[in-house]
Symmetry: C2
Subunit: 405 residues, 2 copies
């Protein structure tokens, strides 16, 4: 990765992604191949007055060793280390930057799905404070993609390397423009304008229609359309995802009905799930199958009560740079921005008016989904139509042939 | 590193170093180049019934970035993350394995010593619970050397690599014997026999004499000779250091008098200190100089009250495999076993009868040194004589010409 690109990436992450300023504490998480990039970001953070920067390295090989070798009775063991760490990150309002890009995309291929799910669930419980703080925008957080050689080979072909993938990511992240930060801020404004327009329609239901898909998703009176940037109670403006092309909302999970076909592969607990089919009845997934990774999908669905219910619905114009690239990045962070999607698992508080103040029980009663997990599933395509229904039942075309009307 | 050597190393670390068993939680710390070895150890730990294995990677580059770039006012910031982590490791009695071997031995060369000391002091305060638990043998812990390419070049010459250093370490660690674990256990027994013999002499003072060195170290009535292995309150037998050749005790810091010359280089906060001279008066270092790294030595001495006082005295026969190798490993873990040494900084509780039950204030009153740091300084050589004085003032030759009498 070129030094100049590292500096531009760091500036976008720190200034637009997180709003790092005097006294910020920054936690970064990434894979080993991101080490030099994370050091450049750390340097940039200290230059901006950060008081402390901490890096945590993903170690999927270690996770795989545990999944394979641990005695059965210890798989549900949640380490108190993770729990305390999560508590401190929230209590001290650390900013949180996650670089996404696997060192070994297939590290979990062939591992026992039931064992992985138990480990994942225990981990999810341990870090619930941090997840809640992110979902409620109480801390500034940002997820960005970062190339690795293995990821490049996976998404671009056997001969590719991280440099080639960085070239593509630079375009998608708008890092190749004269003033990347300004471009990104302007882009965020256009997403926010779209969200406002959707809010003003007073929608009660979305109807997704495409090849194999006929899905109705209920929106609550409290559902709000969001996208682009967010703000902490301290006034830090941050972008949860870079890139982002979506306008999304937290639905009323109880009203999901019909069928959906997954139009892009996703990786669940490390296993690739491709060609998935879901059938919803009364707000719950009652049937699930997949051409590949069906077991991973089904064990995911069994994580908890909320993992079979919707926590997010997102509208994406297929004609954006990611959709137009035609590449399947095998990364939800990017792929979710290529197409309309739904997410199984926990909802995002700001997408549901009032949810930030509710207990989990209260959320569930009001139709806001609660879960330890959150997984985006792409259902959009250039053949997709999305129609909104307002409180009077009027049908309003939102997307036709993959593009916003 | 050969797979077979990884397995042998793992077995020695887990079975002799720590006594990993059903339900053990294991924290490992090492540098990035130790990653595959740590994975092999993790696998071995799970095979032995460990309930959880956690790896933390040293990141000296990040530490250097902080030392260079952080605003001055944040250097004393102790992260609550470290503090909580240290608390949990102690509360849950995690076993602790540290692999020593720098990825970049010169990572801190040229950094501002005063700034490094402030960072180090803040860090030392944050992890005091873990340090105390180790020093009091309340948890099983073990430090072992692990080769890196950079370390090999540093200690063996510019053309060397980690494989060459592993060959030498395998000998020093006794990994090349038919039954390394049994050999190591027999070696520990011989060290323990020497400690018992020293205890039975009822020594009140040690007199070190060699070129440039004329040093008297007081032993308290409570000082005990130790070495080789130790035991937690739960009955786990562990070896704090592998390799180990030393018999050591915690002195009465108030009675150190005279001069000592450092016979081997040491690395303090990342900077090499070579040819050091110390003068003690009334138990305190009152003069310090060095041919190289004098500033690092002096800023170390200013860490706290206890960093100028003795916390350890150790007798080592120069005719052991490490001493005989003639190599300066530039690693205290190994080099301290080549020669007699003293340590500035905190004492080791089991080396001072009763200390485990005392508060820091009580320890200080009774002559047991308390500090946030502990640094071994080698003063032994083949020209060294060590004489013990018992309560009646009788002079008992212990070491003559570097070897035990």
């Amino acid at each position: 990765m070129k030094e100049s690109l590292k500096r531009i990436f760091a500036a976008v992450a720190l200034d637009v992604g997180l709003g790092v300023r005097e006294g910020t504490k920054l936690r970064m998480v990434g894979a080993m191949p991101h080490r030099e990039l994370m050091h450049a970001i750390a340097r940039g953070a200290y230059e901006r007055g950060a008081s402390l920067v901490d890096i945590q390295y993903d170690d999927q090989q270690l996770a795989r060793i545990r999944a394979d070798e641990s005695r059965d009775e210890y798989l549900d063991e949640a380490t108190l280390l993770l729990e305390r760490e999560s508590d401190v990150l929230v209590a001290e309002r650390w900013s949180y930057l996650r670089l996404v890009g696997d060192e070994e995309p297939d590290a979990m291929e062939g591992a026992d799905q039931a064992r992985l799910t138990r480990i994942q669930r225990a981990r999810g419980k341990a870090v619930v404070a941090l997840r809640s703080a992110r979902m409620a925008s109480r801390i500034a957080w940002c997820v960005m993609p970062a190339a690795t050689d293995a990821w490049a080979r996976k998404s671009l072909g056997p001969g590719a390397d991280s440099e080639e993938l960085w070239d593509i990511l630079a375009t998608i992240l708008r890092l190749d423009r004269p003033d990347p930060a300004a471009e990104l801020r302007a882009h965020v404004e256009s997403i926010q304008a779209r969200s406002s327009a959707l809010d003003s329609l007073g929608l009660r239901e979305l109807h997704f229609e495409g090849p194999g898909t006929d899905l109705r998703v209920s929106l609550a009176n409290e559902s709000r359309w969001l996208g682009g940037a967010d703000k902490t109670p301290d006034g830090e403006v941050f972008m949860p995802n870079i890139p982002t092309e979506e306008t999304f909302s937290t639905p009323d999970f109880r009203g999901t009905e019909g069928r959906a076909v997954m139009t892009r592969p996703v990786r669940i607990h490390g296993s690739l799930v491709e060609g998935g089919h879901l059938r919803f009845d009364g707000g719950r997934v009652v049937e699930a199958s997949a051409d590949r990774g069906a077991e991973a999908l089904r064990t995911f669905l069994d994580t908890d009560e909320g993992s079979r219910r919707l926590g997010e619905v997102a509208l994406v114009d297929s004609a954006n740079p990611i959709g137009k690239s035609g590449i399947v990045f095998d990364s939800p962070l990017i792929d979710e921005n290529a197409a309309c999607h739904i997410a199984l698992g926990c909802g995002y508080d700001p997408g549901f008016e009032g949810a930030q103040a509710w207990s989990d029980a209260e959320k569930t009663t009001r139709g806001f989904n609660v879960s330890l997990v959150h997984e985006d599933l792409m259902i959009g395509s250039p053949q997709m139509d999305v129609t909104g229904l307002d409180f009077s039942g009027r049908r309003i075309p939102l997307i036709r042939g993959g593009s916003f009307v």
